[in-house]
Amino acid sequence: MALNDATPPQVKPYVPDFGSEAERLRPVEIPEARAAYRLVLPGVMQVGVDTVFAMSRKSSLWPMTFGLACCAIEMIGTFMANHDLDRFGIVPWPSPRQSDVMIVSGTVTKKMAPAIKLLYEQMPNPKYVISMGACATNGGPYTEYDRVLQGVDKIIPVDVYVPGCPPRPESLLDGFLALQRKIMEEKRTVG
């Protein structure tokens, strides 16, 4: 059966090891995201390009549906017809590869932390994180239990915190509007 054993040489890709607890809960390193046009275009013309890109990014934010707990039900409620998010160009997308925003909706446990870090790293830049609900912000009602991570910003950088347990769909909507304002303000620094 020599024919069948000829598997191609396995190129060992980088795979993070989540062996120990410290490694699992280590915050994500955020390398500097460089865009080539910063070097090519002179300073004046960059403003125009930045504005165009910021406006296009803010009006088509694709969130990665990442429902952890009860906040996920309110997040789905926000996507549905009564508090429609599609009118802002916000289309729920299951995979991190094509999404811009990660909505962490629910309690972040220490068993789930490495998965959240990996998903965050697998999202293409520029990416944003909305920490939805008290649980994602600082552990919420479950803060005292030692298997619960006290806030998702211990492992990934968070852009907008939405208060509430669970936050009403309107407050998640407000969170998205705040994120859009933030994108417009930070347009000079993102590329």
Binding site: E21, K110, G139, T143, E144, D146, R147, Q150, G151
Partner: protein
């Protein structure tokens, strides 16, 4: 467990059980809403097999497996059984001596006991002898802590995250 099998007072279901399983040693008592029979790990399997196999009892549904940390008296396991045929409910408590929390497993009798026992084992440090797959269920695989024990502390709440020292005179 003094096998004072002569205690007459068998409330409710315990009388039926005693009638059909005369050899089983247990002490019957009554909780707020159902009957509790106490036995020890050695006689558990024999009692449960009797409960399940006797047609008059037919306790074919293992409802619940509750682990308990009674601090001084060691760990304890409580099983709740229900019989669909006769609409009967009974609670079986199995106290274990403080030293060795060993209880025989029921997975060969009830398939549903598998996950319940794994959860009680990892939460209290109980050991279910003969369990097919005694890995952690709710905690990570390599974690050897038992969170639900009374001795296990809660986590300190970090009130001021990121702000090193609060403004003077500001107390939580």
């Amino acid at each position: 467990m003094s096998n004072a099998a002569t205690t007459e007072e068998f409330p409710g279901v315990a009388a039926l059980i005693h009638k059909h399983l005369p050899k089983a040693q247990f002490v019957a008592s009554r909780t707020s809403n159902d009957v509790d029979i106490r036995t020890d790990p050695a006689h558990l399997i024999e009692l449960v097999e009797g409960l399940k196999s006797r047609p008059e009892l037919a306790f074919d549904y293992l409802r619940n497996v509750v682990g308990l940390d009674m601090e001084a008296e060691g760990l304890e396991v409580k099983y709740h059984f229900y019989s669909f045929a006769h609409n009967l409910h009974v609670q079986v408590s199995v106290p274990t001596p403080p030293g060795n929390p060993h209880v025989p497993t029921l997975t060969h009798l009830y398939a549903g006991a598998d996950w319940h026992e794994r959860e009680a084992a990892e939460m209290f440090g109980l050991v279910f002898d003969g369990h097919p797959n005694p890995k952690n269920l709710l905690l990570e695989e390599d974690l050897r802590i038992h969170p639900l024990l009374k001795a296990h502390p809660l986590q300190k709440v970090e009130i001021l995250q990121g702000i090193e020292e609060p403004t003077p005179g500001f107390k939580f």
